[in-house]
Symmetry: C2
Subunit: 149 residues, 2 copies
DNA sequence: GTATCTGCAAATTTTTTGCCAGTAG
DNA sequence: CTACTGGCAAAAAATTTGCAGATAC
């Protein structure tokens, strides 16, 4: 049961070290939670999730830890039209689909074919493309049922 | 020189009417600005842009007008990791590329091929896909030069 | 005439910052 | 040891809201 934990810890330690940053239990707890969940929590939700393990942790620290992890490239930050930010610890290539009613975000596997990306790259002249983000919009089944659309 | 203006006004009047909303000079000024610019301004920037024509307009009204236009489908709202929201009056299908240093957003023409979108649709089971948003990340030429990367 | 809209200011929400004590290396 | 961190509370930034007067239709 500690395999995953150890693996995450190793990844985190190396990433922090590479950036001249220190390994702390707060950063570890935040990273562990993101790496183990399939949800895409807000900073507030991360706080609630790590409180049981670290009762003293503060929201400000969660924000600082999240920014640190984003800076190390271990976590992605997603922002949405309602002003909320969510964090995604999944490093496999995938897209997101977001429900326009309840705001829930689900993963959609896959990545764009390389030639597709190359085409986009050419369309963005005078711009060095380092990556992309693809997000589907629509409605999840529970919300469709609820509204009987 | 009034051709564009009249055309925009007609589009706006119809869209508002369809939704049972009123045509006002504030909504008109905000829409005009978005329809005529290639930039993707923040609410604050829209305020500055329309102030010369409507000195009395307030930021709250700009926000309200923008939400109204988004609701009518005339304008798209874009949100970013730094917490800022930008508004895009271009209705042609296109993507965006955003500079990770200065935050500027430029348009990238094109849209994904239908079969590509269909594939994504299938990957998002239990989800009715109504659209998508594709955004490139990277750095614009001025910023690359400035940092001599 | 009347429901909708604007402007103002205050409220909310989300995120960031300064500072001192605590801790990793 | 010494610089990097965390916790706290206060600040900052972005957006929304309540209300009274103004306006579109």
């Amino acid at each position: 049961m500690s395999v995953h934990h150890d693996s995450h810890e190793g990844i985190l330690r190396s990433a922090l070290e590479e950036n001249g940053l220190r390994y702390t239990e707060q950063r570890s707890a935040v990273f562990e939670h993101l790496a183990n969940t399939k949800s895409h929590p807000t900073a507030d939700e991360v706080l609630l999730a790590v409180r049981p393990a670290l009762p003293g942790i503060s929201l400000a620290t969660v924000y600082k830890s999240l920014e640190t992890l984003v800076g190390c490239g271990l976590v992605n930050k997603l922002t949405y039209s309602d002003g909320s930010s969510r964090y995604d610890g999944c490093t496999d290539p995938h897209h997101h689909a977001r429900c326009g009613r309840c705001g829930r975000v689900v993963d959609v596997p896959g990545s764009l074919p390389e030639d597709q990306v190359e085409g986009l790259r050419l369309g963005a002249s005078d711009f060095v493309v380092t990556g992309y983000r693809l997000e589907l919009t629509g409605y999840c089944q529970p919300c469709l049922t609820a509204e009987r659309v």
